[in-house]
């Protein structure tokens, strides 16, 4: 996964519970015992991490497959 998300969260997306706009934050991504750090949009209040569809089906799926084939 790239160091930065391929598509940052749109500015109009806010946390419904905390009523706060999302900010980029460091996130630990793990799969099959491997983990690494990435920057993703998160709620600064509750820590809700947002994954856009392009990321989930793109780079994230690629990394998942690469780890499954490792």
């Amino acid at each position: 996964m790239s160091e930065r998300p391929s598509t940052p969260a749109p500015p109009e997306l806010t946390c419904d519970r905390c009523q706060l706009p999302l900010v980029l934050g460091k996130v630990k991504a793990s799969y099959l015992g491997n983990s690494f750090e990435v920057e993703l949009s998160c709620c600064p209040g509750c820590g809700f991490i947002y994954v856009p569809e392009e990321l989930a089906l793109g780079k994230m799926a690629q990394v998942e497959q690469a780890l499954e084939d490792k």
Binding site: G25, S30, V51
Partner: protein, 750 residues
């Protein structure tokens, strides 16, 4: 995977055997490759290709006795390819053969060649390329003396071939005769190729060209007398040089020489599929083929390949190879120590349908190979989770209380038979299952028990032997509790699983039973249907016959494709559809494209896959219970499949067993466009996953809101998948705008 077994499988794929022409050529000239280049009109490349095999392309092009042509398989459908004429066209096209280049030997040795005929000069060429010092002794004043007297060989052609020897470092000693035994004292090896006039008392080994003297090798026209063959004489020089090289290196002279010399090939070629074609006649026979004529003649070459399996299987075609190569890749995939296992998806994309073994001249089945590889992957914990996870969760659903059921017929304490409709028919046509069960109950004395559940096929296909064992144990416990009645299966995969893996369970297909007990009452509707036999019934001729007779009784005129034993998979077998949608779609698309008429099948998954890809198709039960335009019925999709199973069980409990079962109320009512629904289906996201995610967001408040659209974005990770749903609330309904999922787990970094 067992290495010995892998070698056995590999040995049964014959695609890599040479075509008959190359096998018949003593030096195995790649005639098929030449024809392919000529077919493209690339004479220059064809010439260069010939020069790689033949040291004297000009001479051979004019004088070869072409044993290749007699072996040509084209002769079984028209005339043999005029290979010699093609060689001549190449030889006279005016291209210069590349000169030989002296190689670098690790340990340079000195070799004497006696006689500068074709065999001696070939040996000299091969040994100089290997980097040795070569001295040629010729009794006459010229090289290739006898060939110079041949009126059919222009001198310019001979000289052009000899030009390849210039500046190679070979030392030619003209007008010198020498004694081989004496030379053997001075040189590390000696080749005697002195022609028919030479010493005749040499005893030559036909495989290694060795003589009684360990350093002296011999061959060439001396071996043939009146049966002289130019190309065989040339090949003697080549194989003697190989022996000399091996002797100089201290290697075995006899190892790996099985393919040496002219021989028959094991390559299977289905000649019958090629229409007969006569040879192209050159406009001027004395001049031979023009380039255009040669191109037309080369285009008659099939070319010879086996590929019987690849031609019938979109999966085998998809990966661009053939079984022998795949088997090697699959074995490497398992034994690789570092790096990615690149063949995982290929291994999981096979439908295990068995068609390849059916058409293979050696009965090699890739399904057996792939299943064995899957077992190895599971055993070593290398099976990619994502490939089979969805199918195994679906299996878990079928084993759960939501669907599983095992009962005697209402009002009975024992069962003469046990009906096992299977999970996919129940998922596709729950109403048919319920009606059909009642028909069985009405027609069979002694009670017909009912068992809803899974036969374990998905676990077997995923090589999850543990889970397959558990599923079989579930079945056995209930079957024994019901008194071990004979099992009647409606699904051909269930039939396969029971007969192959629980042979002590008496199993019969419902279609053969139905013929004995009689069909449900309903009028036949005339129809014309192409029958598709499920791949899991490939050799079940009694079932094939029963289904055809049943369809006939219902007014159907049956159109056959290649016959039941050559049937294909619908793409679902082996869980291929879940591991590789692209390949599975190619498989089903090829099948449904075979003709225009509606398809008739007796596997619910086949019918629904045909429908999913736009083919009008009916299940045999649609003929038993006619109701409108059944062939237009859409694929229910994965969500409805699970819901239908649950609904079937609840309906049966209510209607047949009189239990008070209520339908679960949906707290989350979903709505979405057809596009979104199709997208979810492709992404293997169930409506139940969506409901859980929305429910989680609504109860916990954990969701995002898009201030511009007012849409909510929710996420939920019930077990190993995170589901994302974008939805809005409209009139009390949750309108789904998109959903997706990932497996990676995320948390705020500490």
């Amino acid at each position: 995977m067992d290495g010995q077994q892998v070698k056995l499988w590999e040995s049964r794929c014959i695609e890599e055997f040479p075509p008959a022409c190359s096998a018949a050529c003593p030096v195995h000239l790649d005639v098929r490759g030449l024809a392919e280049l000529l077919r493209k009109g690339d004479l220059r490349a064809a010439h260069a290709h010939a020069c790689r095999f033949i040291p004297f392309p000009g001479i051979v092009g004019h004088l070869c006795d072409h044993p290749c042509q007699s072996a040509c398989r084209r002769s079984e459908s028209g005339d043999a390819i005029r290979i010699h004429e093609l060689e001549r066209t190449i030889a006279t096209a005016g291209f210069n053969a590349p000169p030989f280049r002296r190689g670098r030997a690790m340990e340079k040795k000195r070799v004497a060649v006696l006689g500068a005929g074709l065999s001696g000069m070939t040996a000299a060429a091969d040994l100089i390329v290997k980097g040795h010092e070569v001295v040629v002794f010729e009794a006459n004043a010229q090289l290739l003396g006898r060939l110079r007297q041949n009126p059919n060989l222009p001198a310019s052609i001979l000289e052009a071939d000899l030009a390849r020897f210039e500046n190679t470092g070979i030392e030619f000693r003209y007008e010198q005769t020498a004694n081989a035994a004496t030379l053997a004292d001075e040189f590390d090896a000696v080749y005697v190729g002195t022609g028919p006039a030479g010493q005749s008392d040499i005893d030559i080994d036909p495989l290694t060209y060795t003589t009684r003297h360990p350093k002296i090798f011999a061959g060439g026209s001396r071996r043939y007398g009146s049966h002289y063959s130019l190309i065989t004489s040339l090949s003697d020089g080549r194989y003697a040089a190989l022996s000399i090289e091996r002797m100089l290196q201290g290697a075995s002279l006899i190892a790996n020489r099985d393919s040496q010399g002219s021989q028959a090939s094991r390559l299977y070629v289905n000649v019958a599929v090629h229409a007969p074609l006569p040879a192209v006649a050159p406009a001027d026979p004395a001049q031979g083929y023009s380039p255009a004529e040669a191109q037309a003649e080369a285009a008659r070459c099939f070319p010879c390949h086996c590929l019987e399996c690849v031609q019938v299987c979109p999966y085998l075609e998809h990966y661009g190879g053939y079984p022998k190569r795949y088997i090697r890749e699959i074995y490497n995939n398992e034994t690789i120590v570092m790096g990615a296992r690149k063949s995982n998806r290929m291994i999981n994309s096979c439908t295990l349908c068995g068609l390849c073994a059916e058409v293979c001249p050696e009965q090699l089945g890739m399904g057996e190979v792939c299943l064995s590889a899957r077992q190895g992957m599971v055993a070593k914990n290398h099976m990619p989770v994502s490939h089979h996870d969805f199918a195994l969760r679906d299996l878990a659903f079928s084993r759960s209380k939501a669907f599983a059921l095992a009962r005697h017929q209402p009002g009975h304490n024992e069962s003469a038979l046990l009906f096992f409709p299977g999970c996919q028919l129940s998922a596709s046509s729950p109403d048919h299952v319920a009606r059909f069960y009642q028909h069985l109950c009405a027609k069979v004395d002694g009670g017909v028990g009912l068992m809803l559940g899974c036969c374990g096929a998905p676990a077997h296909w995923a090589a999850r032997d543990d889970l397959f064992g558990e599923t079989r144990a579930d079945f056995r416990a209930e079957w024994e509790r019901l008194g071990k009645p004979p099992v009647i299966t409606a699904c051909s995969s269930c039939y396969r699983m029971f007969t192959d893996h629980q042979p002590d369970v008496p199993t019969e297909s419902v279609w053969t039973l139905l013929e004995r007990i009689g069909l449900p009452d309903a009028g036949g509707v005339p129809s014309r249907l192409t029958i598709h036999d499920p791949c899991t019934t490939r050799h079940e001729s009694a079932i094939h016959a029963s289904v055809r007779r049943i369809a006939h009784q219902r007014g159907a005129t049956i159109v056959e494709l290649e016959g039941a034993e050559r049937t294909t998979c619908c793409g679902f077998g082996g869980l291929a559809q879940l591991a590789n949608r692209e390949v599975a779609d190619k498989i089903v698309d090829r099948r449904i494209g075979q003709n225009e008429s509606d398809h008739l099948t007796y596997c619910a998954m086949c019918r629904d896959n045909f429908a999913r890809r736009g083919k009008r198709a009916v299940h045999i039960l649609d003929l038993l219970y006619p109701d409108g335009d059944a062939a237009a019925r859409a694929d229910p999709g994965f969500s409805a499949r699970q819901e239908n199973r649950g609904r079937l069980k609840r309906g049966l409990l209510r209607d047949l067993w009189g239990e008070d079962v209520t339908e679960p109320a949906d707290d989350i009512e979903l709505a979405m466009s057809a596009e979104v629904q199709a997208d979810l289906e492709k992404k293997l996201i169930l409506l139940d996953d969506i409901r859980q995610t929305v429910r989680h967001a609504e109860t916990s408040g954990e969701k995002l809101i898009d201030q511009k659209t007012g849409h909510f974005v929710a996420q939920h990770r019930p077990v190993a998948m995170t589901y994302w749903v974008e939805y809005s609330l409209e009139g009390g309904r949750h309108v789904v705008h998109r959903a997706y999922s990932h497996r990676m787990q995320l948390e705020i970094a500490p």
